[in-house]
């Protein structure tokens, strides 16, 4: 009996419209509608807090409809309230690509990235020194975005954004705030490779340069050194992974 009641509570809270049969099963119709309002308003509040510019851009009605449609797929799968906006965005961004101005999906992706890095896990506590022959260690609170509109330029222009490729790095600074810095295509690919950390810094530089058909000459090296110094300064690059132990060394 109880599982059936629990299923009915679930449908009342998350279905697009609560059914009279579920409300009848549980009884106390008006009070279950209170629960529906409480559940939905908390979730709507948290996604609106994460995506305020997106909500403003598309309007409360369209934003609310997206939340309603997402909730009707069953409600949040996460126990962490801070991860709820990502679940909504995963559902809504593809929808908004078809229904809203072309830059709205980029704006939502950008706002979600800022929200995610703000709430990302801690950085590793133990990191070795950065070196070209080591795999790098990058902060956990970072996202690299490849967008087609400069939506990081706020406030949102009245006529929206012009189309044009943008590479962004959004990371958490020492005061725990999300900071956005603009990249070029090579820097974005390098940062992606360093996040994957499946190769040494030198190997990933060679791979990315080759993919961009760019020679590693003095100018490239100078720009790379500046980029790495900047990333270390911003604590985007934390250091390097410890080299594997020499099996010949005594334990």
């Amino acid at each position: 009996m109880f599982p059936e009641r629990a299923e009915a509570m679930h449908r009342i809270c998350f279905d697009m419209e609560p059914s009279e049969s579920d409300l009848g099963l549980l009884g106390s119709r008006d009070r279950w509608l209170v629960y529906r309002d409480l559940v939905r308003s908390r979730l709507t509040h948290i996604v609106a807090a994460a995506l305020p510019r997106t909500k403003n851009a598309i309007g409360e009605h369209a934003f609310g409809r997206a939340v309603d449609e997402w909730l009707s797929t069953g409600g949040p799968k996460t126990r962490y309230l801070r991860h709820v906006p990502a679940e909504l965005a995963t559902f809504a961004i593809p929808v908004w690509r078809g229904t809203e101005a072309p830059w709205v999906a980029d704006l939502a992706s950008y706002e979600l990235a800022a929200w995610n890095v703000r709430h990302a896990p801690r950085d590793p506590s133990s990191v070795a020194e950065f070196a070209f022959d080591r795999k790098p260690v990058i902060t956990t609170a970072i996202e690299v975005l490849r967008l087609t509109h400069p939506v990081h330029d706020a406030p949102t222009p009245a006529l929206g954004y012009e189309r044009g490729p943008v590479w962004l790095c959004v990371y958490r600074d020492a005061t725990h705030q999300p900071i956005t810095t603009k990249l070029n295509a090579i820097a974005a690919d390098l940062l992606d490779a360093w996040q994957r950390a499946d190769r040494t810094v030198a190997q990933s530089v060679e791979q990315v340069a080759a993919a961009h058909e760019t020679g590693i000459g003095p100018a490239f090296v100078e720009k790379l050194a500046t980029l790495i110094a900047d990333f270390i300064d911003r604590r985007i690059i934390l250091g390097g992974q410890s080299p594997p132990r020499d099996p010949g060394q005594n334990a």
Binding site: F2, R31, V34, R42, A120
Partner: protein, 280 residues
């Protein structure tokens, strides 16, 4: 080794943390946190917790492992929680006697269980499972509810006592929830407190609630503590004895001084009740 939890505590919440951690008022004896806000998270929340731990012992109060959920626990989360609680050296952890998720979908709110023997079995079994998994004493909190229960079920206090006895559990007694339920459903809140085995209570929650125009009271944690809830706290402390009391304020958070005045009131009630001795 865990530090002792005594006197009046305050919920460590983002909206008041900056002022609280700067001023570190001596009238706050301990703090309570929701682990879901800290597990696998860095940034400001982690910093808040580390700063709070310098001065105050910490108790944890979960939001998402509700004891009435029909699905099995998430073993991965319980493992993470065990590690988190061990690192914090908490003396106990608490969850809610309610429904929080169905089929892996979370309400992010606390829905009521039916006060039936079936729900008692589910909750007591889950409580034992979770207690084993997290490795610290586990208490549960009585929740507020707004929907009328079926007439052939147990009274709420009897339901709570059944779970306590069957699971040999501890109780986080929320006097605001008792008051809200008593007003919404017309029972005597003091009679409810009388039913609770005093030796099982490890902590008390106090909060304010919203009184809607239609007369329904909603447990918002967003209003000042009303006089009737202070009175019920006084009654409960005289019955139960010196258990730590937490002021919960999660929404509509006022300046810290306003909360500190409420805490002073709680402290006065606490000391007066203790001086009067326990009324059996």
């Amino acid at each position: 080794m865990s530090r002792e939890i005594n006197g009046i505590g305050l919920g460590l919440r983002y909206d008041l943390a900056t002022e609280l951690l700067e001023r570190r008022p001596a009238s706050v004896s301990w703090v309570e946190i929701h682990p879901e806000n800290y597990v696998d998270r860095g940034g400001r929340y982690r910093e808040m917790l580390e700063l709070a731990r310098r001065d105050w012992p910490v108790v944890t109060h979960g939001l998402s492992s509700c004891l009435g959920d029909p699905a099995p626990f998430d073993a991965g989360y319980l493992s993470d929680l065990r590690t988190f609680l061990s690192d914090l050296e908490v003396p106990w952890h608490s969850e809610h006697l309610c429904l929080g998720a169905v089929d892996g979908r979370f309400f992010h709110d606390l829905l009521p269980l039916p006060f039936t023997d079936e729900a008692v079995r589910t909750a007591s079994q889950r409580l034992s499972e979770m207690r084993d998994a997290i490795g610290v004493p586990l208490a549960f909190e009585n929740v507020s509810y707004y929907a009328t229960q079926e007439p052939n079920g147990l009274a709420e206090a009897d339901f709570v006592v059944e779970v306590l006895e069957r699971a040999d559990a501890k109780l986080l007694l929320d006097v605001n929830n008792i008051y809200v339920n008593a007003e919404n459903f017309g029972f005597d809140p003091k009679a409810y407190v009388d039913r609770i085995p005093a030796e099982r209570v490890v902590q008390i929650h106090v909060a304010g609630h919203l009184l809607r125009d239609d007369g329904l009271r909603i447990d918002t944690h967003g209003e000042p503590v009303p006089e009737d809830v202070y009175d019920l706290l006084d009654y409960a402390l005289r019955r139960i004895g010196p258990v730590p009391v937490l002021l919960e304020r999660d929404n509509n958070v006022p300046p810290l001084d306003v909360l500190l005045r409420e805490m002073e009131r709680l402290r006065a009630i606490y000391h007066t009740a203790m001086e009067a001795g326990i009324v059996p």
